[in-house]
Symmetry: C2
Subunit: 156 residues, 2 copies
């Protein structure tokens, strides 16, 4: 059997697309003064406010050491705030401030517009299928894109 050409490999397509998205998103968010990771943080806090840094780090796929810096940056800009964690005195509860909520809305619009362009070559139905299949694959390989039930509600 003859080997596949490079971009016949789904794996190569996926890494290439991932790099493409990351790079463009980074550029598009420069005017807002944040990076994709910061957007991710804000998004997670919109979903559930008051998470610990550890709880934020996991779905963002960054180490807790790095998270310190990310939280520092957004806190210094008055977008989020570290408060005392209600049940774990080791942890900080990270809370969204009004300015953070506003910036997130702007960033979300930028990201959404980018996605629309990126998927512009597909019909609405195809795009929906594409996203759906991506979610299925993500789940299958163990990427958590939902809040884990165990992490929802109680702040342990």
């Amino acid at each position: 059997m003859t080997p596949q050409p490079l971009y016949g490999h789904p794996a190569c397509l996926m890494t290439r697309l991932g790099v493409h998205v990351e790079a463009h998103l980074t550029e598009l968010l420069v005017p807002l003064g944040i990076q994709p990771r910061h957007f991710g943080m804000l998004s997670l806090l919109i979903e559930q406010d008051g998470r610990s840094q550890h709880q934020l780090a996991e779905p963002l796929n960054v180490h807790r050491n790095v998270m310190v810096g990310l939280v520092d940056e957004l806190e210094q800009r008055g977008l989020i705030e570290r408060r005392r964690h209600p049940v774990d005195r080791r942890a900080h509860a990270v809370h969204l401030l009004p300015a953070g909520r506003e910036l997130h809305a702007e960033a979300d619009a930028v990201v959404t517009e980018f996605e629309a362009k990126m998927l512009g070559g597909l019909s609405a139905e195809e795009a929906a299928t594409f996203v759906e299949l991506q979610k299925r694959v993500s789940e299958h390989v163990g990427i958590s894109h939902e809040l884990h039930p165990g992490l929802r509600g109680d702040l342990r």
Copy 2:
């Protein structure tokens, strides 16, 4: 309108999946002593032998400075070889050696097996659709996953 949760964003899914694939592929290729990029190089040379370093760098999305090191590594292992370029004396023609062809076959098997597992949650039809849509999106955003017609055949 309420903003999307983080992984409702196709863009976030794609970067996350891309990182996942890159990381796992890197691990899986360690026993073969190469990285995903090296696999990409070998794949491109299988498609068309004797490309210049510049011609290899573009589809791999690496700078020509970096390409120097990649070619060095594979050449020192006797997998590829720099020869005089037939029509451009500034350039090197990078050629695949038998050992390189063999290693590529092994690596290709590893990658293919990984892809099968990754897409194992989808039916065959769904997997085909997924890959097809990825190619469509790649093309739409300007990622070249085919040899550019202008680069095929003549070695300019």
